[in-house]
Point group: C2
């Protein structure tokens, strides 16, 4: 019977395969999308704001290949490794698409023996996750990373990363936000004093990480049921992870009879105190919340961790607000570069990643809801003609304009109607029309028409470039 079933299944698969061939599906792969010109215009605005901020902080820029040797990614992402896209073995090296920009960065540092760099990297990363595209979660998505590598005095680069998140979220005017911070050493110390054995730190940390999506009761039962923690230990953790606050809370925990006895926790709390001093100097401490429930998923963090979330708010434009998770996150990873170095030499690093897709989803929805018309080209002038048989003259004129650096278009028709040419300007937002006609050619002038006002003025041909520049000097 099993044999027969297998045969039938095979036949079905073949049929299915053939059907598939006929019904070719015209789509992008699951969890991915194209960007239309309108979406690109929004995306470029966001990128510009982010790049401007990264450059303001003196960052260099690097780029790495979209795929890495498979073994470069192995053992860096813990449970998430199953989400890595592998390439087919076509002979040669085994490759995987990058899962983030942090591991390639660490590989780059080790490979080039760089011990000191401040760099940004904006590129696509790939995760075979369950896409939730309306909420801005994709399988192919951009990350905008800023990282500081090097041996420095504590918390100065860490504080700068938080300042950067604050600047970007403020610049983009996404509404009110909060940046949660914690420290892996505080978490580990907390686990230790609650009676969690060392070997369970990472897995219990993963459970804590779910607190932003699950109620405590569920997380507790995962800890006790699936992960075999004692109910007392879980309840003890439960008390700690409810705590959030600022410098006061840090002081309180530094006085905590158990936590203050734990070396890791004490180190973490001391650095957290210092961090808040620097954040106060930067004038941003008000937006930062020391939050003991923040754990972050990735394995490689070793110190400060943080995550920025947008706060729910009234929004005049949008009826159903986009539900977004964190829009930025990061932390310190002092051991990752050492994993690549042949001699295990460590390069301490701290960095932040801006979650551009979610930010983009919000802004796109905002544009959709508003009446705002977004131009997708920068064309300053359309070269047009009122009469027939002037294609040659149009081409000659537009060539002059291009060579002078003017952004110009022409309709690709031998004899377009003037009305169609003007309509094209209306549709695409081109502000000026340069009209050539028999009379203008004789007089050595071009008729310049302002689309918005319908004003027309004859401009001497040799002054045309200057006139167009003047009239379009404001973007």
């Amino acid at each position: 019977i099993a044999k027969e079933v297998a045969k039938l299944l095979e036949m079905k698969a073949q049929l299915g395969g053939d059907e598939g061939k006929h019904k070719f599906v015209l789509k992008t792969p699951k969890g991915t999308r194209d960007y239309s010109p309108k979406q690109m215009a929004i995306r470029e605005k966001v990128f510009n704001a982010i790049i401007t901020c990264f450059k303001r902080h003196g960052a260099e820029v690097i780029d790495t290949p979209v795929f890495e040797l498979k073994e470069t990614l192995t053992g860096k992402y813990g449970e998430d490794s199953k989400l890595i896209y592998d390439l087919k073995d076509q002979g040669g090296e085994l490759l995987s698409l990058r899962y983030d920009l942090t591991v390639p960065f660490a590989r780059y540092l080790a490979m080039n023996k760089i011990t000191n760099i401040k760099r940004y990297h904006i590129a696509k990363v790939y995760r075979r996750d369950n896409p939730a595209m309306t909420r801005g979660r994709y399988r192919e998505f951009y990350q905008c990373d800023f990282d500081i590598a090097g041996q420095f005095d504590p918390m100065i680069p860490d504080a700068e990363c938080l300042k950067i998140v604050h600047e970007i979220l403020s610049d983009l005017q996404l509404g009110d936000f909060l940046i949660k911070v914690n420290d892996r050493r505080i978490l580990d110390g907390m686990f230790a004093v609650c009676g969690v054995s060392d070997s369970k730190f990472r897995t219990i940390c993963s459970s804590v990480d779910k607190l932003d999506k699950m109620p405590w009761e569920e997380v507790r039962s995962e800890m006790v049921g699936e992960k075999g923690l004692s109910p007392e230990a879980a309840d003890h953790i439960g008390e700690y992870v409810q705590l959030r606050g600022g410098p006061d809370l840090i002081e309180r925990l530094l006085q905590d009879p158990k936590l203050s006895q734990n070396k890791l926790a004490k180190e973490g709390l001391g650095d957290m105190k210092l961090l808040f001093e620097y954040l106060t100097l930067f004038g941003i401490a008000g937006k930062i919340s020391f939050d003991l429930s923040l754990a972050r998923g990735l394995d490689y963090y070793t110190g400060v961790i943080f995550e920025a979330v947008l706060l729910q708010q009234e929004n005049d434009h949008v009826e159903e607000p986009v539900s977004v998770g964190s829009v930025a996150g990061g932390g310190r990873y002092d051991g990752l570069v050492g994993m690549f170095d042949p001699k295990g030499r460590k390069v301490p690093c701290v960095g932040v990643s801006i979650g551009i897709e979610r930010i983009f989803s919000i802004l796109e929805q905002r544009v959709e809801a508003s009446e705002e018309k977004i131009r997708t080209t920068e064309t300053q002038v359309l070269v047009a003609s009122a009469q027939k048989k002037l294609l040659e003259e149009r081409l000659k004129l537009i060539s002059e304009l291009w060579d002078a650096g003017i952004k110009a278009e022409v309709l690709y028709k031998k004899n377009p109607k003037l009305l169609n040419q003007l309509q094209y300007c209306e549709d695409t937002g081109i502000p000026l029309v340069a009209i050539v006609g028999e009379q203008e050619l004789k007089d050595g002038v071009v008729k310049l028409r302002v689309v918005a006002t319908r004003e027309e003025v004859n401009v001497r041909r040799e002054s045309l470039v200057e006139e167009i520049r003047m009239r379009t000097s404001q973007p």
Copy 2:
């Protein structure tokens, strides 16, 4: 014996595999590379020149995913299909990395029922080719594509594509260049009158395409030996493919007793004549060569094809000049969108692709050879201190500068030496140093030092931003 050998080979492979595990290789995948900050600075200059040109011609911009459904790419690239990177089947859809930007563009048009667009797209594409990295040939490389889709009067968009190539190669100052043009219809007509059967057009076209790398004799023997063409037909082709020239040659071929009887050739020659008229209006006909040996590898071209090559020249800086192939290419592909449309509706397209990696190789080598120092950051000022215990004051000041939009850095040390701070400016090209000290703090001033001249001046704190802006207004 065969069995034993197989066993031994397997054992060897296993040993090799284990060795491999221990000796983890720290590298990027074959045929790929990282871009260092210095390389990125050069790359961004080239991109800016290209994007500026594309925008000058009124192009919108789109983006598509790095991978497509495997079947989207199937049957589009002829013999080159074997170079496509496939992703591993991890359940779900079968995917491949994009091989160029043209097929994704055609898929995008068909999927969104767009019949009229002028767009550019700058992104990485992937080919499992034999890399020749010193000559700028990689497995992962950027393409910069500009395409015009839509039903228009003949040769106007085609001429604009050539104008764009001319503008970009001139802007980038790569030295003298030549743009070869031909037309697939002229090639097919030529094959027909030489006695090649229809079914052999594409494969003979592939042989002709090799003429830039092989002498005619080898190409001829491939045609006759491997592809079964008669020696007479091959010799006849051999006469045609030696021809190159301008409008004169077009006229001569229009008079050619055989070619002028072939419908396809006649159409192609008529359009070529029109193209040269437009190129003359654009003032670029002098750099264009109608070249009957130009064939282009890809299957999807249907009309005009072209390729830009740099001409060998004396180069003062470089001892061994980089040997580069074509730096731009493109053509008309009127059938590709119809291959994706469920009803086969065609959208005529013509486009150009700029081969950025080869251009980049030349410019990089030129920079290496020159003494030119390239800055990799844009930092305007370093916030420094002359005495100890002023970290807080440095952080307060730099925060003010960042908030005012000044690009500023600070050393991540509690008590850095002034000399080290000045040295950092020398190394990275930061032009100004803002020095805080006890006395300056009391007086409400900051000492501003010009790194190049060592000039120092006290600036009132409230005027500092203005002063820095003024002194760094020239880039």
